[in-house]
Symmetry: C2
Subunit: 324 residues, 2 copies
């Protein structure tokens, strides 16, 4: 393996800087440049390229596929921000807030097409398979977003429903990236499938941890607590709490975020008190551990030498904010 | 040639009926079925398939590419209707009006991905080239839509600017369809280029005629007159009129659609009186004839026998509503 997570990220950032768009029409292309240069951790291309490297493939040749998944990811952010009416993204005004819904819509559409343009550069030999993985993944992401919106007005969301939703909305793009990387490196079908499962479990662990940090994160690290609670969003904690609550508690969980007679801090305190009473933190932590351990275990079953998965394991730990 | 315009349309409709989508999530897929079964003339797939046939290619094998361009076209309608706040489409409520902006947005995204899924079925040999034609065409359509929106608030739009806009917004999809058809039938690069020019000129003639019928159409045929005028839209007539008007006339052209003191019929009458005075009907008719004749002439320069272009010529005449 020639690359570490850091060197692969540097290589990718250089490739991304060569992403050129026409100057006109300015309102179509400026938001794309704004969105792509807005930082972010480039998790999906890094996972794709680390996978290529782990299976002994050519990382440089895979760079356009990395650009494709990153442009796709940013396309979803532009359109999600329209649907969620979100004014901020990565600490800056969202494209939606800065230019309005029509611009975010059309620039987003253009980004989805640009993603396919980059994908088409992966070389004729694997194009067909990579294209299918990419499109299937992209459709799963759209399905996940639709389920997420459906859940906002759903009477009851089970833990199974919720996991299936985040498998699409969060895991699919990580898993597609890993599968594309493995395919480009000519990994066996069995290894491609295993990379799919690795990234799916890792994505679930990551999303569940994100859910938990919204209620139990460390505010001293600058993390604002309770955003999901105030928005009345479905999270694993809320889904678990609803299933364990009695009728009276359920009504409190359902209605607190809509109350006008109390402030934000009090709303958060009420819901968190119920989370504590119903012990949902513990069962969420358990789920995170199960998923994360499962992901690492799958890495050990790949057909390649154990040392080749070292950087993928580091990636997984890094994603979860763990040193070791 | 095995097919006429009618038999090729029937074949395409059968292929389209096999378009299957999952049942869930219902709010993602129902609008797609609604949109695809909403009729329309299937102009783009018919042109694609007629081109395949003219160059002696396999029409059945090209059907998925036909589905791709038709799904893409309907994707643009879903998203355009959001941007234009349009409640009706083909005499029925638009997806935007029926389900709301978020559904039209996300179902539209999914349709763009489905279009690529169908495109990926064209066979490995031509996949790379067809994919590039399709993506370049798709980006042109987005650019055209952005220029169209830019023009709404532009101080001055020249005839050249306007033609360049509709070349992207209307012609690009016809021209991309023709190029994909020619490519799948293994036409020479020169013939592919000529099919591009044929469909570009035809698309311009078609759009300019559409512009003209908004002001000078036959109301007895059920065509409502003056819709573009009332919306204050840029059309070739308006662009020409603005360039010929004196300052006073220009102010009338610019402001009449916004007046609150008069009714719709009077607004239309005022603007049409200026169109007549400035003789824009005549110059628009001239442009239409020039573009249409140019399209037909290009067909004669293709490397294939003249009789093979018969159905393409019929298609062109049919598009313009001309018998002969």
């Amino acid at each position: 393996m020639k690359y570490t997570n850091d060197t692969i990220l540097n290589l990718f950032e250089s490739a991304l800087q060569q992403l050129q768009t026409p100057e006109e029409p300015e309102l179509l292309y400026s938001p794309i440049i704004y969105s792509m240069s807005g930082g972010g951790k480039r998790l999906r291309p890094v996972l794709l390229l680390l996978t290529v490297d782990a299976f002994g493939g050519n990382v440089e040749e895979a760079l356009p596929a990395g650009v494709a998944v990153e442009v796709f990811h940013n396309f979803t952010l532009l359109h999600d921000d329209i649907m969620d009416n979100a004014s901020m993204r990565r600490g800056k005004p969202s494209v939606f807030a800065k230019w309005g819904g029509n611009v975010a819509l059309l620039s987003g559409d253009t980004m989805l097409i640009i993603a396919y343009k980059y994908l088409a550069r992966v070389g004729a030999k694997n194009l067909d398979r990579v294209l299918n993985i990419f499109s299937d993944m992209a459709i799963e992401v759209c399905e996940g977003q639709q389920y997420d919106m459906d859940f906002e007005s759903a009477e009851k969301v089970s833990a199974v429903d919720y996991i299936q939703m985040i498998e699409r909305k969060t895991s699919a793009l990580l898993s597609g990236s890993a599968m594309i990387g493995a395919t480009l490196a000519e990994a066996s079908d069995d290894d491609v499938r295993k990379m799919h499962r690795f990234a799916t479990e890792l994505g679930l662990a990551f999303q569940l941890q994100d859910d938990m940090l919204d209620s139990y994160g460390d505010e001293s690290l600058g993390k604002k607590i309770g955003g999901d609670i105030l928005e009345g969003k479905q999270t694993y904690l809320m889904v678990q709490a609803m299933s364990r609550a009695n009728d009276e508690q359920r009504e409190v969980l359902r209605s607190t975020h809509k109350r006008k007679d109390i402030g934000d801090d009090e709303k958060i305190a009420i819901v968190k008190a119920l989370y504590d009473a119903l012990d949902v933190k513990h069962s969420t932590e358990q789920q995170i551990e199960i998923r994360f351990e499962r992901a690492l275990t799958i890495l050990d079953t790949l057909s390649i030498a154990g040392e080749r998965t070292k950087h993928l394991e580091e990636f997984a730990r890094g994603l979860m904010g763990r040193k070791k």
